[in-house]
């Protein structure tokens, strides 16, 4: 078991994709690196991604994907209305293809370059074994290259001397220990679990109006330390939202109920009114944004009936959920799951023999819900959604005999900014000057996005930003160290 | 009270008793194929009368002899007879007793397993109901030989009649000075407690049985020492099946003309048969021959598809010779520890469960599935490989029955059976794959029909 070194060339704060990519890159360049991880487990949120974004990769070329860096750059900047930092965006997009090859060299296996939504370029490089496999591969490589990895050892502050980074203070067994380092790479994964900051920067009440997924113990340590060291702020208010239901200990992620809830049938607010063209479910960001408008209640409902269930059992899903449940996947366990939820007295999943009864159970005015369904069924009959222009292929009336409602919550996959960086992932101060020796990437760094996640032009970008910003930070730091 | 006085007083008291031979036990006809040692007194002795046991069966003469020849001589006698434990594992009894005797401790215990861990076996029910004293005498001989002062007789809690009989027998023994301080005027002091124990497959595992006696849940434990060295409350503990103890008492009684004690086994024939029976047969008789003799008809007439021998974890045996090397065997397999083991199975409870309906009548996949489902139900849940393995295998066998499975599934099934064999603590898990593996060996065609042709051979 490793012990805390007195000094190193580089201290990396966090062992997710950003930190590990930086650590391996730096170690490849001959730097002595120590990675500090607050948690007992490595990888943090990076364990969850199923694929990652790249343009002009070998895999894409083999599949005749002709989407170019230039197109992607333009689309990504358009998506943000040029609120994003163009040099950061350009740097990440340009680096992305090489990063795929580099990951393959580290032992990561990609199975396909695909998309997980319609009408988008094939930028999503699917990983065998998910992010966990990336974390494992990078940790093994890092260790083989002499990187010291210290789980359960949070960094509490940065040390600066003569305006340059000179090390970190870490906590070990309740004691604070100083570690000298010329370079610090901040990659602590944002602040998704920091109730106060989420309220302050996004306006949401954490836990009721919005719930983080795949984030644990993200209190914004890295961002705070960088700010304390004089870093400027950028993009702190952007979060990657999504709509998911049902939520609770008794519901496994990826269960049939969750898949049913994501289907473009009828969705209503807590007041019983439709709120969107349900086919936006195909794109995570729009659906997350639409859902989050109703933050005071914190939830909406997906309403379906026996005919929906029948369809999902026979024809399968319209909207795939994750890589493992593609469109067409059949929900054979749904009845059992609904029954179990009802038997357990869950308030997340409800069923009734009439709309009135269902309305009563979900505490919605039965008149409102009845009118909503009547109107919707009318649109279905005429084949035109007068309200939200939903594609007629997905206009399917609710006829019973049993009706179901599942509560869907606004969740988010992480916070997407905080520290201002330049295209070299150097941290800059409020006067746009570089803080020597300080680098940041991943969820701690801002500038890649505008006000929301550019899902259509660049799916898989969050993990890609992490990996690429880590590699770029590593390369920049090597130049700084003159290695 | 010394032995002579015991016998004299018993004789006097018995004169006034109405003999009720076997009235409270199952009266079993001795078939010509039987050879009785453990069941020697069945139907001949009044199970409720200690006097009857003493006078007509030479009762407690074995204990008397043991006390007079000394501990080591008792063990030597078992050693000479080559007695192997009747609980199923066939461990050499003398070796176990000596280990326990030589273990140094201030206190030792003897535990008698009389649970009949699954409903197919009736050994305890029969023996305790028909002749409890043969077991009790064996128990005391064991306690004397290893130096224990406290015995626990664990009886299936469902056997209310037997438990009442035993408790009464213990009272009588106390009256006669066969329990308590200075038994038969010797230095030997001992007591016996009857423990009503819930019957389950794991309760038949000695480590689990010990936990039950400690007031804990019936879970088998990986042991680092034999119970004979470190058992109940960490003290040396001799754990024996009641059949072994009944044989011990016979052996020590050494009555002229008694058959060689190590040569028989109590078996129960059940399943698709005319009548279920519990009999004691000479080792070496083949499964098929025993069935024919017991049923009084030829195998062909009986319409046997297979016989599961040894209890729920036993392998299947069927007509014809199976491919060599696999688990399972032919009905010609002789009932001996060695032959059964060679067939990849265990003596276990030595039950012959007949699966009928003729060679094509029952689908072997169904047969294997039902066997696995029973084991899934009985798994205590402790070992991952057994808990999940049995559950997954039932599910996979259901898939095969529904013709939803593939050849890769079959591979995984074999891997799961191996994982259970190597990864389980107790016999249940270790042997849980045997019924399935033997069904595969013996009736591969049935599996193929489901896997490749998508139909059930039994539903043609």
């Amino acid at each position: 078991m490793a012990s805390i070194p007195e000094k190193a060339d580089v201290a990396v704060v966090g062992s997710g994709a950003t930190g590990l990519a930086a650590a391996v890159t730096l170690a490849e360049g001959g730097a002595k690196v120590v990675v500090f991880e607050k948690q007992r487990s490595l990888g943090g949120t990076s364990n969850f991604f199923q694929g990652t974004f790249a343009v002009e990769s070998e895999m894409q070329r083999e599949r005749y994907v002709d989407y170019t860096r230039d197109e992607c750059f333009k689309q990504t900047m358009d998506y943000s209305h040029w609120m994003a930092n163009p040099r950061v965006v350009r740097a990440i997009i340009n680096e992305s293809a090489e990063t795929i090859s580099w990951l393959q060299e580290q032992g990561v296996v990609f199975t396909d370059a695909a998309i997980n939504m319609p009408e988008s370029p094939l930028t999503y490089h699917i990983i065998k074994g998910k992010g966990e496999a990336v974390v494992k591969a990078l940790v093994d490589q890092a260790k083989a290259k002499g990187v010291t990895i210290l789980p359960g050892t949070p960094v509490v502050s940065l040390l600066k001397e003569d305006g340059k980074i000179s090390g970190v203070v870490v906590e070990a067994d309740g004691e604070e220990v100083e570690v000298a380092a010329k370079v610090v790479v901040i990659a602590s994964g944002g602040f998704a679990n920091n109730k106060e900051w989420i309220k302050k920067y996004t306006g949401f009440e954490l836990g009721t109006e919005i719930t983080p997924v795949g984030n644990t113990g993200k209190t914004g340590d890295g961002i705070r330390m960088a700010w304390e060291a004089g870093a400027a702020e950028e993009g702190i208010e952007t979060i990657e939202m999504f709509r998911v239901g049902p939520v609770g200990d008794e519901f496994a992620m990826g269960c049939n109920l969750e898949q049913a809830t994501a289907q473009p049938d009828l969705w209503v607010t807590a007041k019983g009114e439709r709120f969107c063209d349900e086919t936006i479910t195909f794109w995570d960001t729009p659906v997350g944004n639409a859902q989050s408008r109703y933050k005071k209640d914190g939830y909406t409902f997906s309403i379906f009936d026996d005919s929906s269930i029948q369809r999902w059992m026979e024809r399968g899903l319209d909207k795939g959920v994750g890589v493992e449940f593609p469109p067409g996947y059949k929900l054979t366990n749904l009845h059992k799951e609904i029954q179990a939820a009802i038997d357990n007295g869950s308030a997340e999943v409800l069923a009734a023999d009439s709309l009135e009864d269902l309305a009563a159970q979900i505490e919605v005015d039965p008149g409102v819900l009845g009118a909503t369904v009547e109107e919707y069924n009318g649109y279905c009959a005429q084949g035109w959604d007068e309200l939200f222009a939903k594609d007629r292929r997905y206009l399917r009336p609710l006829v019973g005999p049993r009706f179901y409602a599942v509560r869907a919550r606004t969740v988010f996959l992480g916070t997407m900014g905080g520290i201002r960086v330049n295209g070299k992932m150097e941290v800059v101060d409020k006067k746009d000057g570089v803080i020597p020796g300080l680098y940041a990437g991943g969820f701690d760094a801002g500038g890649m996005y505008g006000d929301s996640y550019p899902i259509k032009s660049s799916s898989g970008l969050a993990s890609s930003f992490a990996l690429n910003s880590g590699r770029i930070a590593g390369k920049s730091a090597l130049r700084y160290l003159r290695k | 009270m010394d032995y002579d006085r015991l016998k004299a007083e018993a004789t006097a008291r018995r004169a006034g008793q109405e003999p009720v031979c076997g009235a409270r036990g199952a009266v079993v006809d001795v078939g010509a194929f039987e050879r009785r040692v453990a069941l020697r007194n069945l139907g001949r002795v009044d199970p409720g009368s200690i006097e009857d046991y003493i006078v007509t069966c030479d009762g407690y003469s074995g204990l008397h002899r043991a006390l007079s020849i000394g501990r080591e001589a008792v063990i030597a006698e078992l050693e000479k007879a080559g007695l192997r434990g009747r609980g199923g594992a066939g461990y050499l009894t003398a070796l176990k007793w000596r280990t326990c005797r030589e273990a140094e401790a201030d206190e030792k215990f003897v535990v008698c397993d009389a649970i009949d861990a699954h409903p197919w076996t009736r050994t305890a029910q029969t023996l305790l109901g028909g002749d409890p004293h043969s077991v009790l005498e064996g128990l005391l001989i064991g306690a004397y030989a290893v130096g224990a002062a406290q015995c626990f007789l664990c009886v299936n809690a469902d056997y209310r009649e037997q438990i009442a009989l035993l408790r009464d027998a213990l009272d009588r023994m106390r009256d006669c000075g066969l329990l308590g301080h200075g038994i038969l005027s010797s230095e030997f002091s001992c007591d016996v407690e009857v423990c009503a124990t819930a019957g389950s497959l794991v309760a038949g595992e000695e480590t689990a049985l010990i936990r039950i006696l400690e007031g804990k849940q019936a879970l088998p434990y990986l042991r680092f020492e034999y119970p004979a060295v470190q058992g109940l409350h960490e003290k040396p503990t001799l754990v024996n099946n009641l059949e072994t103890l009944a044989v011990v008492s016979a052996l020590l009684q050494g009555r002229a003309g008694a058959p060689m004690a190590g040569d028989t086994k109590i078996v129960t024939i059940c399943g698709d048969v005319e009548r279920e029976m519990t009999v004691e047969v000479p080792l070496g008789m083949s499964i098929g021959a025993l069935l024919e003799a017991a049923e009084g008809a030829s195998l062909g007439e009986l319409g046997v598809k297979a016989v599961q021998f040894g209890g729920p974890t036993g392998a299947f045996f069927a007509a014809g010779s199976p491919a060599s090397g696999g688990v399972g065997g032919s009905l010609d397999t002789p009932i001996t520890f060695e032959h059964i083991e060679a067939a990849g199975s265990v003596m276990g409870s030595a039950t012959l469960r007949v699966v009928g309906g003729g060679p094509d009548g029952v689908c072997a996949v169904q047969m294997a599935r039902d066997a696995m489902a029973y084991l899934q139900e009985q798994s205590c849940g402790k070992c991952t490989s057994c808990r999940e393995g049995t559950l997954q295998l039932v599910d996979m066998l259901d898939d095969i029955l529904d013709s939803r499975a593939t050849a890769e599934d079959l591979e995984l099934m074999l891997e799961l059976c191996e994982a259970m064999r190597t990864g389980s603590i107790c016999g249940l898990g270790k042997n849980a794959g045997a019924p399935l593996l033997s069904a595969l060996t013996l009736f591969g065609d049935d599996f193929d029909a489901h896997l490749h042709d998508g139909h059930c051979p039994a539903k043609e």
Binding site: M1, A2, S15, E37, Q39, R40, S41, L42, G43, G44, N47, F48, G129, E132, A133, V135, K136, I149, L150, P151, G152, T211, V213, G214, T216, G217, T219, D249, E250, F251, A252, M253, G254, C255, E337, A340, N344 | K216, Q217, L222, F224, G381, K382, C383, T384, S385, R387, E388, G389, L391, Q392, D395, M396, L412, E415, L416, A419, T422, G423, I425
Partner: protein, 707 residues
Amino acid sequence: MTDQSTESTVTLTIDGRRVEAEAGTSVLYAALDAGIYVPHLCDHPDLPPYGVCRLCVVEIEGVEGLPSSCVTPVAEGMVVQTQSEQITQARRLAMELLLAGHPVDCGICQKYLNCELQSLKQYLGVEESRVKRRSKLLPVNNSNPLFVYDPNKCVLCGRCVRACWELRGVGVLYYKKQGKEFHIFTREGASLAESGCRFCGACAEVCPTGAIQDKEGLIKGDNRKAGLVPCKSSCPAEIDVPLYVRLVKEGDYPAAAAVIREKVPFPWVLGYVCDHPCETECRRGEVNEPISIRELKRFAAEHDDGSLWRDKMTPKDPTEKRVAVVGSGPAGLTAAYYLRLQGHDVTVFESLPAAGGMLRYGIPEYRLPRSVIDSEIKEIEAVGVKIETGTRVESLDALFEQGYEGVVVALGTHKGQKLRVPGANSAGVLIGTDFLRDVNLGNEVAVGKRVVVLGGGNVAFDCARAARRMGAEEVNMACLECREEMPAGPDEIREGEEEGIVIKPSHTSTRMLSEDGRVTGVEFLDVEAFFFDEDGAPQIDVVEGSLHALEADTVIFAIGQRPDIPEGFDLDKTDGGLIELDEFTGSTSREGVFAAGDAVSGTASVIKAIASGRKAAVAMDKYLGGSGRIDRKVAPQVEVPACLGPGPGFAALGRAADRCVIPDDLTGNFCEVVESMGEDDAREESTRCLQCDLRLKIKTVDFWGSF
């Protein structure tokens, strides 16, 4: 190497490396100790090996198959391989089986990143499964205090069962079957309390997945370990509460007192008047009622002979540095005490005739006997702290000129206030602090027969109850807060009411009624809602038309106090008139001047004042070139047995009855109102402790990333 190895040491080869291990060690720990990671789940360093998960399988030369390394003892010359294709395959299958019934819910699981199962899954790379995965769909058991059990997350490793039976000897948890699925539960499915659970938390501590977890919100703060022992972490002075409660239980009272003495010089005072945040947080409170921690502290202090700490709490070698402390309340005396122990020459200046500050001049005698204050101050003086009473310090410069190198300002909040309502200056309208000071000084205090006290805090009660003792026949207390939100402690409210104080909650006074310049009553409006707006400013919604009056010949304002800081101190102050401190250095705006107590925090509790005094002592000591380490271990180190034994009826044990004795005739009677706890009661009460700290002694399993 070989020559050095003793008989109890075994040498073996693991992955081609020579490894030494003590005989009896398992192959697993021989490998782990040598820095070779072997995945394992069911094994736990504090529990007997189990051998059921099959993740730690290895190859051993001459041994058939793949033995579980956790149940295989090392042997001389053993040759072990921990990695091979065959091993990987077996481990993966074992992991697939463990995960078969486990939900894919890492993303929303509280245990994520502290979950051994997730870490193992990551290590073994078991994303795809050949065995069928299923949802168990079992209900989550939320019905017990402190813990949540989610059978869906349980992988039946049996650690909790072993922890319950073999580590703690409690014996509550069993393997149970529901349909085809297994879970862990009590024997007959009864509640944990009914089953004899001791709520020690060992089961949750050893659970490698999120199956048994502490209820959300019960662990306060970022630091999980501290959060698990909330009595200690919520104590401002971080007194090791579970330890002294345990020592009381074992009958070692001097040791218990020594534990308290390690952190505070006022154990006995606290035993009377501590506002005990520890009891509010006590986890036993979730089971039934919290431990009566304060009474046990008083008991320990009363039964202390000083034998264990008095010889050890002596000053270090003199540093030749002189320190002045302004104010002799609990904050000032605490700072003085610890600075003296660090070897400094300390003088305390007190403007009033005797030392003790609010202990003596705020808290009335019936709550805190003067002998108790005297006795504890005597101990402080005994180590060489000089106290100059009747000496008011007007200027810090003067102190520095006298050669003091540092000053701790701890002058409390002695300045009470009145509301600016009409009639507030009428005769008979008093200020609480002044009133109490006069009472405690023995000055003549004229109190009429009908008294109205304005305020709802502890000081208000002190005023009200003192007024009763000064002869008032009818005492009304009016406060803004509704009854549930009154700031006074519940025992204070209860005792006050027993003494005949009438509480009028949700009242706001609009003016003092008077005749001839003398107060005759108070006019009130009923309060509909009292809250603080987003800027923290108090807001009052009144009930229209609720104007009414209470007759009174004396009105006492007890609505908060401020410090009285002499101009000559020249210290920066906050908007609220308190002394401003640097968050990181603890220093005031003047070099060498530190501050502590109510003057910094606003009127708070005795224990907070003491904690503040400790902080100031640390900061001052560092400033004077010391280490700042003021803690001394004086209590004996005791090995705590891990076994608790069965606990039938444990959960139902009730809190020791209140021993409050209100005299029939209060007038002039300042005798103490709460009796001491007897030895039997103390033992019974301490036996109720859940011993939450025991859990922290359970070892933590290192994940693969640590190797």
